[in-house]
Structure formats: structure tokens, C-alpha cells
Amino acid sequence: MSSLSYFEASARMRLSSLVDADTFSEFCPPQMRRTSPHLARLDAPTAFDDGIIVGRAKLAGHKILIAAQEGRFNGGAVGEVHGAKLRGLLDKALTEQPAAVLLLVDSGGVRLHEANAGLIAISEIMRAVLRVQAAGIPVFALVGGSCGAFGGMGIVTRLCSEVVMSEQGRLSLSGPEVIETVKGVEEFDSRDRALVWRITGGKLRRTLGDATRLVDDHIPAFRSAAIELIKRYQSEPLVPATLATLLAAQAKLTERSAVFSAARDGREIWQARFANASIIPELTVDEFNRQLEVST
């Protein structure tokens, strides 16, 4: 089982183990050597795929488009080429009409070596994700890698129809290191791993509803969740956001900020939600999911 840890696996391993065997075909593959000229100019290492794999595949027989970010290359950060591959994949969804687009997010956000190109790319990806969903095609974010989903990719993740996370996955905007650097260690101690996990980790995000599924750190678990979601959207097609649904979301987010107006630790959220909050970090994913269901 450990050999199929999602957290430990490379992006290529995650992708190939997730989709149906021998169905993946890659667009703009490493053989094309579309490396980042901006990294090269700064004498920084480059990669033939610029840290992202995009292509088409099948999942339980359904046609999908899929992207996987490689956290081991520059923290999965988005530069010009990397971002363009993801945007191009989303554009392709409009003509190809897959059952879903899967984004295996593993990224700290904008790649600083090409910061302006990265920021604009993230904005283009945000618009593209919204366009795809407005056309009725669901986009799923899978978050369980070592770099999590931060910065602009944290926003992109939350634009998706579904967010599947593992406990080890992290989802937020500014990284703890950034907050510590700017605001001081008393605001956010980035070396306190348990605290970082209670602020950004999968169980907290699932409790708040920002993640829609919590699964084990196991590639087959992510695969099963993605298949279930595809089947659900096949029977109940995605309805693009309306004024009514966004007003409801506004009310929910307003309530969250009112109820937790001074909260600074995930424990406070668990205490409000669970009878025995102190045991939440110890629960297995199955136990946690059952508790969550009971408390709803």
C-alpha cells in the first residue's frame, strides 16, 4: 500500500496509476522539450515538461482530460509554459467535451523566476476553469502532494466543482513561511507542523466544506473517489453557478466568518462541530468521514 502513497509518488506515477491502464496520451510531451527559457536565463534547472503533464485518458471507461503538477520541480510552481499547458488543456475541454477534467494540483503558486508570466497565467487558468464549468463540464481538483495547493493554485482549486483531498494534502492561500516572514513567528510558526496541518490540512478543509471528499493517502483511493464523482455528474450533470447559488454561497461564507470571527486554530472549528474534538487528529479517514456524516 505504501508504494502507492499519493504523497510520495511523482506526478507521472500518480497520473498513470490513477487512470485506466494504457489509456493516457500526453499533449506537448517531454520529447518536444518545451522548457522554460526564463529559468534558463537565470541558470536555474529546467524540465522538458516544465513541471506539468497534460493529456487525455479514460477513467472507468469515461473520457477525461487530466493534468498533473510535479511538486518536485520548483515546487510545482506556475510559469509561462507550465501555465500555458494547463490553460490549453482547459481550452481543449470545450471542444473535446470530456466527462470531466481532473487537475492533480501540487503547487506553491506562482513561479517567482517568471513571476509576472505566472501571475497572468493563473488569472487565465481561473477564467478557463470557469469557462469550462459554465459549459457544463465538471473540473475536479485532487490535492494530496507535498506542495499542496497554495497561492493562485489554492484559488484555482476552490473554483473546481469538487475538491478531493487526503489528510496530508494542504490547501490555503499564503504559505505559513510567507506569513511568518512578514508577520513574525508569533502570528504563524511555520515549523510547528501540527499547527500548519490544523490550519491547512485535509481534515480541517473537509470539516469546513472546502474539500468535498477526504480520502486515504493512496492513489487507488483518489481513483475511486474520482470515478464515483464522474458517475454522479453523469447522472446529475453540472449546473453552472446562478445568482441564487452564489447568494447562498455568500451567506454561508459570511456565516463562517461570523461564527469563527476570532478563530486562529483548527481546534476551534472542530470544537464547534464535533462532540469530541480532541480525538479528530487521531481518527482514520473512514472514522473521520463517519463522524462528519453524523455531525451534519
Binding site: F27, C28, R34, H38, R41, L42, A44, E80, A84, K85, R87, G88, D91, V110, L112, E114, A115, N116, A117, L119, I120, A121, S123, E124, M126, A128, A134, A149, G152, I155, T157, R158, L159, L171, S172, L173, S174, V178, I179, V182, K183, E187, F188, I199, L208, D210, P240, A241, T242, L243, L246, A249, Q250, L253, R256, S257, F260, A263, R264, D265
Partner: protein, 234 residues
């Protein structure tokens, strides 16, 4: 702010509340909604809720009527940096703004951003960057991070970054760099008639995202458009 509004509009009724502003104005030939932030606001959860609420309010008000154009006045130092905001999911609040902007676009509201002051990183991504047309006022500062901080994090010397910044728009701060890369459509000058420029900009709005193509035409972002097309055409 009134000095700015007087230069932009024939008439305006725009109220500020802390770091947030909203209201409506007339450009001479049409009524527009105005939403924005001031004083280099750090966008936190409360501000994000106000921005999204104002956008949804314009959409709701215009149901059954011709959709007004929305002008975002962006002035932000970036996202708020607190543990509280991260705990509650500031990224989710920003995504909610983006979904509200997208709804407005789909309902036929054309969207224009005016950068007045600073447009930085996540604060700029949150709403200003999502408009159909983005204009920068003179002295607008646009960046992800200043070169000193970038040098610390990337461990590339400041001298090297400064030298490369001179002929590459790709990482150095500056509205001009974003213009070359297609991230900003227009930069206005101090001596321009801003009301005329605003009317012309509103006339030129298209609701498609052509920033990558513009970056290619202006030779500031040569790969984004061809690589996206390569993938989309695979």
C-alpha cells in the same frame, strides 16, 4: 478619491467604507457600477465578502434590465497575511469573488478594471485581473513581489535580477512589463483626458480572454499563446 472620480465621470455617487468603495456613476453616455478598494488595501475575508456582495448586488439589481458595465477600482497591496484568514480559507473567499465576477460576465455585464495605486499578487488576482479590460493609471505599481524579496527566496543575486530585469518583462515589477505581457491592456498618462480614455476603453471591451495573444503581439510573452494552442489543438 473625488479628484479621480471627477476626472473619470460626468456624475458619480460613490461611497467609501473603510478600505472599500462602491456606488454608481455616469460616463456621459451610460450608467456604470463602481466597486473597489483604496489605500493599498490588504484583501482579507471581510473585504472579500464586501466585494463579492457588491458584484452580486449589481447582477441582482439588473435582472430584467440591460446589464450595466462594472468598473473595478483596484488598489491592493495583496492578500491579508494572517493565520485567521488562512484558517477560514481566504482562497475560498477569493474563489467566491471570481465566481461572482464570472456570473456577472455571463449575465452580460462588461467588466473594466482601473489600477489606481498598487495591484499586487493575490489581491490583484482576486478581482481586478478578472476584468475584460484592464487599464493602469500613471504611477500604478503592479507586481508579485519586489526584487529584494525575490532575490532572497530564489537565492539569485539582486544584481543579476536587476540586470536581467532591464530587458525582460517576465519577473520585474512594473505596469509597463504587464502591458508588454498582455496582462494590462492600456496605461493612461497624466495628461490624457481620462473621461475620454474611459469611454474609449468601455467601447473596446470584449468578453473573451485574449491576454496571451496580446502578449505575443507586444512581444512580451512569446510562449503562452502558441503553447496553449499547441495543447488545445492536440
Amino acid at each position: 478619491m473625488n479628484v479621480l472620480f471627477n476626472r473619470l465621470f460626468q456624475a458619480h455617487d460613490i461611497a467609501t467604507e473603510g478600505l472599500f468603495l462602491k456606488g454608481h456613476a455616469n460616463t456621459g453616455n451610460q450608467d456604470v457600477a463602481v466597486i473597489g478598494t483604496i489605500d493599498h488595501a490588504a484583501i482579507d475575508i471581510q473585504l472579500a465578502l464586501k466585494i463579492a456582495d457588491a458584484i452580486l448586488d449589481v447582477v441582482r439589481t439588473d435582472v430584467g434590465n440591460p446589464p450595466r458595465q462594472i468598473i473595478f477600482i483596484a488598489d491592493t497591496q495583496g492578500q491579508a497575511l494572517t493565520r485567521h484568514d488562512e484558517l477560514l480559507g481566504l482562497n475560498s473567499y477569493f474563489a467566491h469573488i471570481a465566481q461572482s465576477v464570472d456570473l456577472a460576465r455571463r449575465q452580460g455585464h462588461l467588466l473594466l478594471t482601473l489600477i489606481n495605486g498598487e495591484a499586487v499578487s493575490g489581491g490583484f488576482l482576486a478581482y481586478g485581473m478578472l476584468a475584460d479590460r484592464i487599464c493602469a493609471l500613471p504611477d500604478a505599481e503592479v507586481r508579485v513581489m519586489d526584487l529584494r524579496a525575490m532575490s532572497r527566496i530564489t537565492k539569485i543575486s539582486l544584481e543579476k535580477l536587476e540586470a536581467l530585469a532591464a530587458d525582460s518583462p517576465v519577473f520585474a515589477p512594473g505596469a509597463e512589463n504587464y502591458w508588454r505581457m498582455g496582462g494590462i491592456h492600456e496605461i493612461w498618462s497624466r495628461t490624457d483626458n481620462w473621461a475620454v480614455r474611459l469611454s474609449a476603453a468601455l467601447d473596446n471591451i470584449a468578453d473573451t480572454d485574449s491576454r496571451a495573444d496580446i502578449g505575443l503581439t507586444r512581444e512580451g510573452r512569446m510562449l503562452a499563446a502558441p503553447i496553449a494552442q499547441l495543447v488545445a489543438g492536440s
